[in-house]
Amino acid sequence: MAYDPRVAGSSTPDVLTSAPSESISTDSSLAMATESEKQQSVDGPASESFKLKFCTVCASNNNRSMEGHLKLSTVSFPVISFGTGSLVRLPGPTITQPNVYSFNTTSYNQMYEELQSKDERLYRNNGILNMLGRNRQLKWGPERFQDWVPGLPRLDHVAKGDKGALGTEGGVVDVIITCEERCWDAVVDDLMNKGSPLNRPVHVFNVDIKDNHEEASIGGRAILDLAMRLNEAATQERKANGSEGWENGAGEARRSFDEKVPEILAAWQEKWPHLPALWTLAWL
């Protein structure tokens, strides 16, 4: 594998410097709203700009889910990301001394600075600093899935300039992609516990990715591939049922996005046989 994840990590700032975090004026929410509207219209006409909203999940919301977050937000999918662990755990000097942080209250920047001051060489060499450096460009800090309240507006994340936040203001997603079966179990279980107050369906996928930088990078591309396929199907459905075409489409084109999901995943799995996948239809 010629692909070096550290290159990806160090290159993220270049990819993302175009994000206009300071161009969003926060003085009035109305101004902000029109601003975001302009942002969306850049992508094309109203019917074209329909996008599924994604959520990536791994254990610590640092490596795999953030790689997915990066890949998805780079092509301007609305995306949010979470971890399902009880704490954020990053590798330490030995396997028994991990660096542990709490979710929701520690920023990537804090972690970055703390580890840099602890032992810059170590954390540079094992890729942790590069990873945190990438993450702090994407959003403020790791969030815990179990603490997420679906439907709670996330305007503050848009205001902070989180990448992929546009389109997630309503605090809901259409697709959740986890990076490990344990996380998929945790997500499905937690959604059951939340009692699905929103009555909104959500497709929950798992793409089994090993927790290291190389695999995360491959996994990120696989996640993006899956997201593109899903979005393609959803856009097709939208078009077929659109104001112009809703009575013209027939047969295959009329089949809904949801119906196609098992086939999409199966086709995707053929292409990515080393990342065993899993899926269910749950409720937010």
Partner: protein
Amino acid sequence: MAQMGDNLVDQVAQLNAARNLVLGDAALYPQIVHGILPIIGAHSRLELRRWGSDFLAETFASPVLATAQKDVLAEKVLQTLREILELPEGDAAVLKSVVQASASLYPLVFRHVINHPAATAIWESMTAIKQNILQRWDNFPTAVKICCVKFVQRIIQVQTPGLISDPRRPEQNETSLAIVPRGHALLTIPNLEAESSGLLDRLLSVFQENSSDPLFVNATLNCLSVLIRTRQSISNKIISAILSFNPHKQVNGPMTPSLRVGLKSMERTTRSLLVNIMKRSPNHPLAGKMQQHIERMAQSRVEALDEISRKRTLPGETIDSLESAKRARMDAPTPPTVKIPPLPQGPISYSQLFTLTEDAGLSSFDVKQLPMDLIVRITVPVLARIDPSVFSQALEGIRNRYQTLSQQQAASRQPAAVEEEEDDYEPEYQPMDVSDLGPDQPDATKPEVDEFQPDIVSLGPFVLPQPPPLTEDEAGELGRSAATRVFSMLGAPDLSSQPGKAQQRPLGFSRLAGSTFDRDAWATLLTRLATRAPAGLEVDTGDTKTDRGLQKKPTVSDTVRETLYRYILEDFRSRLNLGISWLNEEWYNDRIQLRFAATQRGEEDSDEPSVPLHYDRWVVRLLDGILPYLDSRDLKVLVRFLSEIPEMTIPVAQRVASLAKDPERVNLCVQALLYLIMFRPPAREMCLNTLEDVYNTYEESRPVAGKILVKWRPAAVETQQSETPAETSQQ
């Protein structure tokens, strides 16, 4: 047209701006919703309707908008939703949002109507929406159908009684049928409950259909958790429906990749739901079944599909407990041909015959060290995934070995025909000599055996002569004398000092009956000897046994019973314990025998199974033995006897009633019956009848018995009292 298009883009932009406003400040919702409703109504363009229904679904699902405010908005919104729903076109995206919004609105409106019984209009709108959705459920596009699953789940959740967490603060209670007041003007509890029960059946029917669509199965599974958790009355029904569902069992036709995705997803979602339930209530009565179901599904997956994982690893749980040597062997790619190593020279043991591996560590591994169930769990999946060609090669190899071996043995045997006897003789020797050495090296004994052979041939096997057969009488006699000796243990003086020791060490729940070697242990032994030992032996002569006196000679068990009876009567006040445990054993044995006889009953014999029943006879006999000696202060003894015997019968009750003949013991009789009436509900009717008889028959009992009957059976006293004046006047 371009003008219109621009106009539309502007409108949507404005609407989005408005949405961002309310997302920022939920207090603005009422204002914005009222402003938006006319724009997005049934008469507006499709894009606007899509946007609008989406927005309404979001609004009523929002966790930041207070319920009270949603409540205020509901009525007007319902009207709009109803109009959109009743449009003929049926755009899937719009319908999807409308159904979602209705699912959020339903509990809200339901609660509103509970508190405002006069709110006819709003309830009518909601009901119309509900009926519309439910009628079109089957014909909706898939995306909308999925949302209908959730809508129906909400209706069931609302229209099934839930928990009342705090009856004093009704506003805190969750919306459910339990908080609907009886006699509500709009909500009739039985109708609502019937509706939700029907909907539940329809919802669960997805598990019975043969061609289960993973979309609907998963959508249903994922919304059931909250019903199982909070709706006690239907949770078991839901769980059994899930337990009867095994996605892998319904596969027919070719296994396509998408079918495989669907099957795996249904299995894993079922598993997640069951695990979710078990985590919430680890002591759930169905927890065992749920665990089994999870394992069974995993098993069928291994059988039915997953060639991918066949190439990867065995299922996780089977591998964890194995030694690394084993794991290495299973992970290694199966060689195309099996190497059959030649057998070593000289005598061969069975284990050597069947061993194909040359790994010394593996062949000396004693499988008996592993628990049975673990072995089963390992072996079954392993057998399931053995490559058939490898398996047949291995079988062929063993067969060849066996055949050459038996040919060799036959060849070496023929010169000396005497060696034939070796086969007869060896099994007798093996348990003594070989068992200590373990099954791995039985060949170690072979040289020895060979050395001894000449002697054995000359001596022949030694067999103890058969004892002369006992006659039935002799056997009975011996049995009786054994029983007598056991009885002598009961009276042995040294045993009486034992209980002190036994009390020092409490025995706990895991004790076994009769394991302490004190008097109680011997008593237990005796009662069981009387009741259980001859079980099944007396069946044929059962009919004669039940009437006493027809027998010529008592059997062992009846002797024991007779002796027990006398032993108890000798000092019934202190030995009542023994009597009660004996009668319990007697009763238990009767039940077990009856059940056994019922299962043994063939189809052709129409007779009732006949089993000798002892309890009824002996309980009456023991009571008859005791009654003459009871005096008026023995209430405790009598009450204990009557309350602890396993079954009250009419003859027993009659015996108790007979106590009332003696004016001194009337009180004893009535109090005993009163105790039974109060604390032995199954016998209550019988005892009341008896008490009524006593009351009617014995004049002396009336003051006491009357008081009780007034309370328990007032009618009896009234008729008696109405008759009494008549009788006295006749006299």
